[in-house]
Symmetry: C2
């Protein structure tokens, strides 16, 4: 099935010229963004490795700390992953004592999620090297540029998501 997905069989000519920026395509920023993110997540990755956790755990710990009392459904919506993917990491985090579930006070079907003290500490420990990296990247930047970077990052998000 994946054998002949290409255009034609045989021997198409290889192209020797590099693909350069054009009016419409800005490869430079595409690459900068790729490398920046790769290194940005490498800091917490290294810390998490010691606990046997991964990137998924990081995201859950982060958002639960930022929005204590959020439900499982809220989290699924934020992370854009499936219930089953979340279930595994959430269970591990609860079993390890980083996150607690509390039945919703009004709707008792809901499981509201809260960090424990050590969950808060973990989130801070993971954010610290990332913040240092960000501060380093901002060195010498004017207030206008700092605001411009935030506006740029906001502008990179999808506009109207079905929520």
């Amino acid at each position: 099935m994946s054998r002949q997905t290409g255009p034609k069989a045989g021997k198409p000519e290889p192209l020797a010229t590099p693909m350069e920026d054009t009016d419409i395509i800005d490869f430079e920023i595409i690459e900068l963004f790729f490398f920046a993110y790769r290194d940005f997540v490498s800091d917490p990755d290294a810390i998490l490795e010691k606990s046997g956790f991964g990137r998924a755990h990081h995201r859950v710990v982060h958002f639960v700390n930022r929005n204590p009392g959020m439900t499982v459904a809220d989290l699924l919506d934020t992370l854009k992953i499936t219930k089953q993917s979340l279930a595994r990491v959430l269970k591990q985090l609860i079993d390890s004592g980083y996150i607690r579930q509390v039945a919703g006070p009004e709707d008792r079907r809901q499981r509201k999620l809260y960090p424990t003290k050590s969950g808060r500490e973990l989130a801070l420990a993971l954010a610290e090297p990332q913040s240092r990296r960000i501060e380093r990247a901002f060195e010498g930047a004017s207030a206008e540029v700092r605001e411009g970077v935030k506006a740029f990052l906001r502008g990179m998000r999808d506009r109207q998501r079905a929520e």
Copy 2:
């Protein structure tokens, strides 16, 4: 009230206060970066899905188009993955006619990698929505801010990598 401190004693208390920015931790940018990257890669993901390719194929196609004639070793170094991980996706891209291998003119052990015409077209098609997204995110930004964003992204990378 159902606080649920029931069966197991020694369960840590859940924290109800949101984790806020501090002097040292800038959660806002951490989140902005996460969401920006999540949506940034969603564009090519949607295109690749149709061909049965994934993100790994995208990276290979991109870098081979940017640096035609790069060797397998160069690519491994850029992507920071292992030979075996690369082998699978590279084989698929070659079989599908997007990339060609040519024995090195001086060192014939080397396999120099080149895009085919359709490989070039694929790379452009994948970059196009990303570039449009970047352009949209830059709307109304001054030249200074644009340069500042690039400088920021460069600053986010690791400094001394063993290359």
